[in-house]
């Protein structure tokens, strides 16, 4: 009937999750075609060079996926990937610059020295936490949360049956203080139990917020805590920039025969009789065939809203479902980002400066000892729906990859990647372009904040500035609806068995043979290679895949069959 090409599986979108599932399925021997709208795959794993010689990351910068099975299953090292571990990962300064907190798995001495500024007890506490990282139980805990599909509908509601509860009960130290009331707590609540100093609480809250759930979000405490463990466990950066990570995954897919069509936006997911049949590409695609068919599955690596509000024709969808997709909240991951090229790293004042000069870290946060300021920034974005306007709403994060990765910029320079959280453009009370219009004002505020803490952040040190707003991100990356790096808010209503909606939590959709594989599904963003790994469990069942001996499932995985037959 048609000469249009047929594949086993079509993947819509070449972000890290789309590439990941393409690599997994190609490695299983399926005939896979991935369609990417842009000129280049990678999605948020992007490194650009808008200023010659300086590699800027508009989105992802750190990789926390050290505990992911994908490294070995996809053999990413074979495809040229190298990781740069920061000897000292992060340091954070107090408002008076007299003390610091320090986080690093690789430099216990620095961590101890910073801990002692707060007393011997804090130093020992911190050291004890780092010792947990070396245990298999820690890896298991992380895998139970991030690398396990949410349990199926109808599964036990007993907390003791939840994968991460099983795992946390084995986690040294934490298991001493854990009880089931933690399931309803926020990160803030948990920090009140496990931390004694405000700086520790703020530090953990920021680490959690910048990696997933908001620190005030009830029921997300364990997830937020797990996020901070991800960071401590294996924070490192792909050599050369985050795009290298996408390259390695893409090449794994290509090496196993995957077809990748770039410049090929999918305009429609073709549905017949309630079943996904293929996709229709934009007329501008260089592909000779604008309609391509999939025999086994269409997998959407597009945002859940793009998938159902734009790609699947609405006539195939239930009105109630359509509305619930529309209502999904986009808060929490929209960043106003300022890249600065400087000649010298920021020189902090006082004791903080002495410490930070001695242990140059890959990231800085300041101030770290005032919870009120953190709450102010959160409330400005979420409640008042505006960007930060004064210094009492300003906690700045500054990422400095060039300290450890010499490929980022020429000798004699550094790149500072600074950001604060702002509302998604759609939610900003002054309109979607508000942050763009106020760009200079926000940059001035960030700079003035810098100058309160550092002595050398004058114009003579700053060579160039490059701003990226969430509005810009949503252009660059159609997947970043609202400019949100994790797609949608990470909150109890939108996480685990509820992410992005309860009926979509197992990556299946109301359309047969259509699956989701985007960060809007469990467990969310961070390019952990977790969504594709989780989806593999489902596809092995549905498509009767027979992966080779390289594959191993999550020990915590619960299949639909197990629930239906009451095997548990």
């Amino acid at each position: 009937m048609s000469k249009n090409p047929r594949y086993d599986v079509i993947i819509v979108g070449g972000g890290p999750n789309g590439l990941g599932i393409a690599a997994y399925l190609s490695k299983c021997g399926l005939k896979v075609c991935l369609c990417e709208a842009r000129l280049e795959v990678g999605g948020g794993c992007e490194t650009i060079e808008p200023i010659p010689g300086f590699r800027i990351e508009p989105h992802a910068s750190y990789n926390y996926a050290g505990a992911s099975p994908a490294w070995e299953q996809l053999d990413l090292g074979r495809f040229g990937l190298r990781m740069v571990p920061a000897n000292v990962w992060g340091t954070a300064a107090t408002q008076d610059c007299k003390r610091v907190t320090c986080s690093s798995r690789w430099n216990p001495e620095a961590v101890r020295e910073a801990g002692r500024m707060w007393g011997e007890e804090v130093a020992q506490q911190t050291e004890a936490i780092y010792s947990v990282l070396e245990t298999q139980e820690c890896k298991d805990f992380l895998r139970s949360i991030f690398w396990t599909p949410p349990p199926p509908d109808g599964y036990s509601t007993d907390p003791d049956d939840l994968p991460w509860v099983k795992a946390i009960k084995n986690l040294p130290l934490i298991n001493l203080v854990y009880d089931h009331s933690w399931l309803d707590m926020s990160v803030l609540d948990i920090t009140n139990i496990i931390c004694s100093e405000e700086a520790q609480k703020v530090g953990l809250s920021i680490a959690a917020w910048d990696s997933g759930p908001e620190f005030t979000s009830k029921g997300m405490g364990i997830v937020g805590l797990a996020d901070t463990f991800l960071i401590m466990y294996a924070s490192a950066s792909p050599l050369g920039g985050f795009h290298s990570y996408a390259h390695a995954t893409m090449r794994c897919a290509l090496a196993h025969g995957c077809t990748i069509l770039t410049n090929s936006p999918v305009e429609e997911i073709i549905v017949e009789n309630g079943e996904a049949k293929g996709v229709r590409l934009a007329d501008t695609s260089p592909s000779a065939d604008k309609v391509i068919y999939a025999d086994k599955a269409v997998i959407s690596n597009a945002h859940v809203q793009k998938t159902f509000l734009e790609m699947v024709p609405s006539r195939h969808l239930d009105k109630g479902f359509y509305q619930r997709v529309k209502d999904i909240n986009l808060n929490g991951g929209s960043l106003f980002k300022l890249d600065m090229i400087v000649k010298e790293l920021p020189r902090f004042k006082d004791k903080a400066g002495e410490f930070m000069d001695k242990y140059p870290a890959c990231s800085n946060v300041f101030p770290v000892d005032n919870m009120e300021v953190l709450l102010n920034q959160r409330n400005a974005a979420n409640v008042e729906r505006r960007h930060a306007k004064s210094k009492d709403e300003m906690i700045l994060r500054c990422v400095r990859q060039s300290v450890y990765d010499p490929t980022r910029c020429p000798p004699g320079y550094h790149i500072l990647y600074n950001y604060i959280v702002v509302p998604p453009p759609e939610y900003h009370r002054d309109g979607p372009e508000a942050c763009n219009k106020a760009s200079e004002e926000i940059v001035d505020l960030m700079l003035s904040h810098f100058r309160d803490y550092c002595t050398n952040m004058g114009d003579d040190n700053i060579v160039a500035k490059y701003v990226c707003t969430p509005y810009d991100s949503s252009f660059r990356n159609v997947g970043f609806v609202g400019g949100n790096w994790q797609g949608i808010r990470a909150c109890e209503d939108q996480w685990g068995v509820n992410r992005p909606l309860p009926e979509l939590a197992r990556y299946r959709t109301p359309i047969d043979k259509l699956y989701l594989c985007n960060q809007t599904s469990h467990p969310g963003g961070l390019a952990l290679m977790a969504v594709p790994y989780c989806l593999m469990h489902i596809l092995i069942e549905d498509l009767d895949l027979k992966p080779g001996s390289w594959w191993y499932p999550s020990p915590y995985y619960i299949s639909d069959r197990e629930v239906k037959t009451g095997e548990i």
Binding site: R38, L39, E40, T47, I48, E49, P50, P52, R55, P58, G66, W71, D75, L76, G77, R78, G80, L81, R82, M83, P85, Y233, A234, A236, L239, G240, G241, H243, S244, H247, R251, L254, A255, G257, I260, L261, T262, N263, T284, P286, S287, A288, E344, L345, P346, R347, D357, P360, S402, V403, Y404, P406, T407, H414, N456, C468, S473, F475, R476, N477
Partner: protein, 560 residues
């Protein structure tokens, strides 16, 4: 302390513990240095021949001059180097890799190269001779008549001699001359060699405007208008100047497809993999070392870098002869580089021209010159490091490739011209005069446009020769051809008579970049010739067949 930077080392221990990533010792059959068009092509041919290939690229992205980057605005792309490719019909890789079936499209419109003059008149050179004839005849019946005969002769030289010669190893100059003199067409080519491009153009055409467009088109990519001994490039530049093909989806697309071929055939691409040493033992290559300490053992190494880098910096004495060391040290960089100004506008550019309706469909429009003397003066200035009058060529990249912009209706265009690396004697002047030059370029460019003013520009960015070198340091002094085109650095002497066949005096070391015969410009010549040599030397499966036009050239023209 505040400027501290830590040198990254590829630490196997760390990788074993947390991230199972690339080991710090690798082995392969062939290590290829440089992921530009030639390095990519060499790697792709060899990988498909069953050799285990590792391609090493210093940047985070393969492609070299095949670069399409987001330099203007999120999701608005511009080609920072090559926009179009000139050897599309000839490049053997096109058929060997069936690129057309791999999503690679080339758009080659009939309207190819226009020149716009201050009195709103213009010339438009087309792919179809008849249309060009009609454009030239406005100025001179004699030139138009001359054009037809001339262009057919040049196309013939191209088809029979120059194109096939691009993909066959070079012969010593004397030997080549003897063989060329056996045929009429060969003799004519040899006669052209004795002249300068300027002389050839002026002897062929009478009208100043006609001379201007042909002279600029001949020399825009780095041919010196007053240099003798190189004029075999005139037919190539003229013939190709009317057969340009824009790579749909951006020039980088071509790089991506070769990258895919390499990986799909078991090869490995390592970006951020700057090579700091070519390992040589007992006169034989054994591999390379990367900046981060990674050692790659290889039976053969192919370098696409310039000879000074390859032989003096990466191999080094005592493994090369003093002659080769000296020759490489004195290797001359390109006489000039390119300056580019990229703009994003809300609509396509419309030129204020009274005669040529199709000028707005042209792939390229040249402006800023009224006659051949203006062009000549411009090139002499550039050669002397000066930028007195602004002139150059403009392309609206989105005219034939809407995929470069995200927002429908917006357009990305670029104005480019040959430019000295050391402006007024010092490369630093590019930075200090950046704004001033941008304004001058815009004033000149926009004086030829209608319905648009400078205020309509949404985004603008410029790249000087210094920026070219910063992005891609292998383009020394911004040189896109990895070395000047002069009689001593071309043909059998590129880069040296001992290496122009792509084999070098060091066993297992090959050269395969733009500084090797036949030169730069995304012809794929050096990469193709090197692939043939390596496959033969390593006894691998030569899976491709020489195209008939090359075989014919070798048997008809070169046989003894």
């Amino acid at each position: 302390m505040t400027t501290t930077r830590f040198p990254y080392r590829n630490d196997g221990e760390y990788s074993k513990r947390i991230h199972p990533v690339m080991p710090n010792q690798l082995e392969c059959d062939v290590a290829v240095i440089g992921g530009g068009p030639n390095g990519l092509m060499t790697s792709a041919y060899l990988a498909k021949a069953g050799l285990n290939v590792i391609l090493l690229e210093r940047r985070g992205e393969i492609g070299g001059g095949l670069a399409t980057e987001e330099i203007l605005y999120p999701n608005h792309y511009a080609n920072t180097h090559a926009i179009y490719h000139m050897m599309v019909e000839y490049m053997p890789a096109f058929k060997d890799f069936n690129l057309g079936q791999r999503g690679l499209l080339w758009v080659g419109p009939n309207a190819q190269t226009g020149m716009i003059f201050s009195d709103r008149s213009s010339i438009l050179l087309h792919r179809m001779e008849e249309d060009t004839y009609d454009s030239i005849i406005k100025y001179s019946q004699e030139d138009a008549d001359k054009f037809i005969g001339w262009i057919r002769k040049l196309h013939k030289m191209m088809d029979e001699l120059l194109a096939p010669g691009t993909y066959a190893p070079p012969l010593p100059a004397v030997e080549l001359a003897v063989k060329m003199h056996r045929t009429q067409i060969g003799q004519e080519l040899m006669e052209m060699m004795e002249q300068t491009p300027y002389d050839i153009i002026c002897q062929t055409f009478k009208h100043p405007k006609v001379r201007a467009v042909f002279l600029y088109m001949t020399c825009m990519w780095g041919l010196d208008p007053s240099e003798t001994g190189l004029a075999f490039l005139v037919p190539l530049m003229i013939s190709r100047g009317m057969q340009k093909y824009q790579c749909y989806g951006g020039s980088h697309k071509l790089a991506g497809i070769f990258g895919k071929e390499i990986v799909a055939n078991g090869g490995t691409i390592i970006e951020n993999g700057e090579v700091v040493k070519i390992l040589v033992e007992n006169g034989k290559t054994t591999g390379v070392e990367l900046f981060d300490g990674t050692i790659i053992k290889a039976k053969a190494v192919a370098s696409s870098l310039d000879p000074n880098t390859t032989f003096n910096k990466l191999v080094g004495e005592p493994n090369i002869s003093p002659g080769l060391a000296e020759r490489s040290k004195t290797w001359k960089a390109d006489k000039w580089s390119l300056y580019s100004l990229h703009i994003l506008t809300p609509k396509p550019l419309e030129y204020d021209v009274q005669d040529e309706l199709r000028i707005n469909e042209s792939l390229m429009n040249i402006m800023g010159f009224e006659n051949e003397d203006d062009v000549m003066k411009f090139f002499l200035d550039v050669r002397a490091g000066k930028l007195n009058n602004i002139g150059g060529h403009a392309t609206c990249e989105t005219l034939y490739d809407p995929t470069l912009v995200d927002i429908k209706g917006r357009h990305v265009s670029k104005f480019q011209f040959p430019a000295p690396y050391a402006l007024d004697g010092d490369p630093k002047n590019w930075e200090s005069r950046k704004k001033d030059i941008e304004n001058k370029v815009l004033d000149m460019w926009f004086s030829h446009l209608r319905g648009m003013s400078k205020d309509d520009i949404i985004k603008l960015t410029s790249e000087s020769p210094v920026d070219v070198e910063t992005r891609i340091p292998s383009m020394i002094r911004g040189g896109i051809k990895h070395g000047d085109y002069n009689a001593l650095q071309m043909g059998y002497y590129r880069p040296d008579e001992t290496c122009s066949s792509t084999r070098t005096p060091i066993q297992g070391l090959y050269v395969c970049g733009a500084s090797t015969y036949p030169g730069g410009m995304v012809t794929g010549g050096p990469g193709y010739i090197a692939s043939n040599a390596i496959v033969e030397d390593m006894g691998a499966n030569k899976w491709w067949q020489e195209p008939a036009f090359i075989t014919r050239y070798v048997t008809d023209y070169l046989k003894d």
